[in-house]
Homo-oligomer: 555 residues x 2
């Protein structure tokens, strides 16, 4: 296996017809809409079961290296481990975005012996969900510009259209554009920009809706901009929520696939956790909760990003609680947090490891702040030394936190049974979950709470722009929403260079935007951008496909 | 039926599982990739059969009214009529674009009792083909801008990037844009614009490729712009044809669906005929030719647009010939060509009909210029009077052209058996097909030939810009390509106001662009635009979807 790519391993896997996986999951055949032989959409109205009986295991992580710390791999491996222990388990993941696939990541479906299948289809187009979201988002943009062009009855101020177009691509040249150029027949000129599709409010709406009707209701509540009198204009006023919901009627159904060991997996919704709320759909999670005794789900990046948002946004909107939290850590990431440069991470460095462990310490503390007991999954790498491993394992024991050396990349579920057993211990404990703030707390204080409690900072600096936006949010009565922070994934602070467990810092909030459809307020910090760029040599140049459609280059 | 919408009729149809349709068509089960219960992609490598045994019936039309003349309806109805006559028949159609669906058309899957099913899915997202094309097109744009941003090793002149972005939407505000604004981290500023996806060269490439490998070869040959030294830069030089082909590996497979009477239908590829070459994919047509004795296929708009391009581009690239040509005509369109305003088309007007019939006359002449014998299908409307019908039928008989009053909208295949029998007479005749020009004829003379022979004009005026572009095309050795005219569908000329059978006009070619991947040269005439706009009240505002996913507003 040493010289095989993830894609080669996936190709050799014994993939089962999706009907077989559905049967194992307890999904009736007539609830399946087949997408080829190995993927299906699931009609949630045909799924029976009580969500309350199920335990939810959330997989989060410490602050990662740019290459990631293997969180998807550990999530899949942990589910396969539960499967090996004969638990009725399902895994609920996010769908990959084509932008990173074409850019730097190649694929986003786990690795080694812990992958979801069919990896190629999941990484490319995957049942059209992201395309449907892109289309609905950009149809709305077209409807807005068309409304302004044809007389502008709603009095929309073209300078105050907040709804941006999107593309499921890393494309920096679209970050800031001017549209409507070229004269009267080409619309009204205005500044615009494209976000990556996963940052679209429609992605958030789809991930937080309980069903198609709730989706339509939330779509109608989206604010697309403001009138010349600075009053909000909604999708409902444009009367297109029906058309947008129609465009999303298939995308709203969760997608059933399988792990390499045949564990049923629902992959649905894909917001990033640095620029969006970072969790798979509530519909998929709840469907899995109805079907399985244990649901293993992940959220993006560390406990400061996807973790915090899972607790404060998804669990709040869905009115449920995570029963255990797995923190994925790697010796590489710990050393990076101890000051080692990326190129030197393959070399043993116990001193750096000792310095960097404070990062993990803060993520453990964060889990406990929400009343959820963490289990550390030390994701094994071939470059790790025994001395380094022992240090981390001993340190965890000293802190009184469960830890497991996890070898799911190499061994699949068998490499994660120790982890699974430790998680089972936590699942036996009484639930003690709570959010970090109440709905009624003002937005600025919610942000303050996240920064001081979760990031470990001293406070928040709001720019003048952000202060004005906060006042407007208050005036419009949107102060009860939870907050969705946009922040770098590399640091607990808003500065990607501050590694380890930074202290004494303040976080600058440069912009605050209400997403009234999704029902949260986004706070933008640092120079985080909602449209990534491609690297000098994108992974696309290594991709190819042959006559029978089999491909290479997806890693 | 009088008060039912097409969508209501479609919903009540007895739709059969797609496996049944495949079996009827002779497609083996293991060649099917299911997309739900009623749609499948077909693996063409698993289809046996000799393309030469099949007869191809091309459905074209006279110049239409803005509401269309029912060409898709007649195409479906004619295929169902052959089915009723117990012929082994398949129908090959283009896929709808979401732009017109959201804008003015509602749906594009036929009407009344002559529709393809499932109409809702075909009109929306349909197996992701157009989304894959949009994605590949825009990925290429991102790769180009990324290349320029990261040092521009190929020396691409940002002012001479000819590759445009696309959106499957009617969105006039995107016709002319500036991208790359906002400083160093946001790319290199340049002028750009969006076409509608169906106008993408990738759509043309997909429609003219013989298989996935040929597709990749053609993608590599696409010219995306020019260097500062005015030398062409290709996709092959950017080394991304593998990634683009990978993105298109499912889209390249034809889609199997059914008519309301269970006739197998392949719907694949969807270029418009006014701004692109206007025919469904060669792969789908050839697959249908392998399987059926008679293939009924349509091309967009009149014999001056899709008809001419089917003959001079598709038939040439595919090395086959149409065996008969059906010309769809309506009394409404004939009256419009006789000078009646759109709002008055419902009123009897024999004098206008007599004036407008010259339009049909020219389309009959055009078919015969290619050596293909036409059959006129007079598509019946409730507002037509007996006197009007008799005039058209008598006139056709006087001209020595076969004609049939066609009632497929009301009666399905049963309303088209007379038409089918007349087409069968033509299919018995010896084939006499020829193109209108040879490859070696210079581009300007090819355009001249089309304008004088097909449009009935006196000649062509090339703008100075077009003349320079012709010289460059010649210099680069692209003079052997056929020509793809971009022209209004409403007139035989380049002026939509010149109805009937205009004479004494010249056509102005304002721009000439080589599409080196598709292998044709586009000549832009009049003010035809490659990105449509939405009407003041888009059909989207009438669309809705309910809890179980059933929809309204798709007509």
């Amino acid at each position: 296996m040493a010289h095989m790519t993830d894609q080669e391993i996936a190709t050799q896997a014994d993939i089962r017809p999706i009907e077989e996986i559905a049967e194992k999951a307890g999904i009736p055949y007539d609830a399946l809409e087949m997408y080829g032989k190995y993927k299906a959409k699931v009609d949630i109205h045909k799924i029976q079961g009580d969500e309350q009986h199920s335990k939810v295991v959330l997989v989060s992580a410490m602050n990662p290296t740019p290459a990631g710390e293997g969180k998807s791999t550990c999530t899949v491996g942990l589910a396969d481990a539960f499967n090996k222990l004969e638990k009725k388990v399902m895994v609920a993941l996010r769908e990959p975005s084509l932008g990173p696939v074409m850019g730097i990541k190649g694929g986003a479906t786990g690795g080694g012996r812990a992958q979801v299948l069919p990896m190629e289809e999941i990484n490319l187009h995957f049942n059209g969900d992201l395309h449907a979201i892109t289309t609905a988002n950009n149809a709305l943009s077209a409807f807005i510009d068309n409304h302004i062009h044809h007389g502008n009855a709603l009095d929309i101020d073209p300078r105050r259209v907040t709804w941006k177009r999107v593309m499921d691509m890393n494309d920096r040249a679209l970050r800031q554009v001017v549209v409507g150029l070229g004269g009267v027949t080409r619309g009204v000129p205005r500044e615009d920009g494209f976000d990556i599709t996963v940052a679209s409010e429609i992605m958030a709406v789809l991930c937080l809706a309980s069903d198609l009707i709730d989706l339509k209701k939330k779509l109608a509540e989206i604010v697309i901009g403001y009138t010349y009198d600075r009053e909000p204009v909604t999708v409902g006023q444009l009367e297109v929520e029906g058309a947008l919901a129609l465009l999303l009627k298939e995308a709203v159904k969760p997608n059933l696939v399988q792990t390499m060991e045949g564990t049923p997996a629902l992959i649905h919704g894909g917001p990033f956790a640095n620029i969006a709320h970072g969790c798979n759909s509530l519909i998929a999670t709840n469907t899995a909760r109805k079907l399985a005794d244990i649901v293993v789900t992940e959220c993006g990046f560390g406990s400061d990003l996807g973790g915090e948002k899972f607790m404060n946004i998804k669990a709040r909107k869905g009115n449920f609680a995570p029963d255990a939290l797995v923190l994925v850590a790697t010796i590489r990431a710990l050393k990076m947090n101890g000051g080692v440069a990326k190129k030197d991470l393959g070399e043993a460095n116990l001193e750096a490891l000792k310095l960097g462990i404070v990062n993990l310490d803060k993520h453990i503390e964060n889990a406990r702040k929400f009343g959820v007991e963490p289990v550390v999954a030390l994701n094994d790498f071939v470059t790790d030394t025994d001395e380094e491993r022992d240090f981390v394992l001993d340190w965890c024991k000293e802190q009184g936190v469960r830890v497991s050396l996890t070898k799911v990349w190499e061994h699949g579920g068998a490499g994660g049974t120790d982890l699974a057993e430790k998680v089972l211990e936590v699942l036996e404990m009484p639930q003690n979950f709570h959010h970090l703030y109440e709905d009624a707390l003002p937005i600025d204080q919610k942000i303050e709470t996240i920064v001081t409690e979760v990031y470990g900072g001293d406070g928040v600096i709001f720019t003048d722009k952000a202060k004005k936006q906060l006042a407007e949010i208050d005036r419009h009565g949107w102060g009860d929403f939870p907050v969705c922070m946009a922040k770098t994934q590399y640091s607990l602070s808003d500065d990607p260079a501050l590694l380890g467990r930074p202290k004494g810092f303040k976080v600058t909030v440069r912009e605050v935007v209400a997403k009234t459809g999704a029902g949260f307020v986004v706070a933008l910090t640092g120079d985080i951008m909602t449209m990534p760029g491609l690297p000098k040599v994108p992974s696309a140049v290594n991709m190819d496909v042959d006559a029978d459609g089999s491909s290479t280059g997806l890693f």
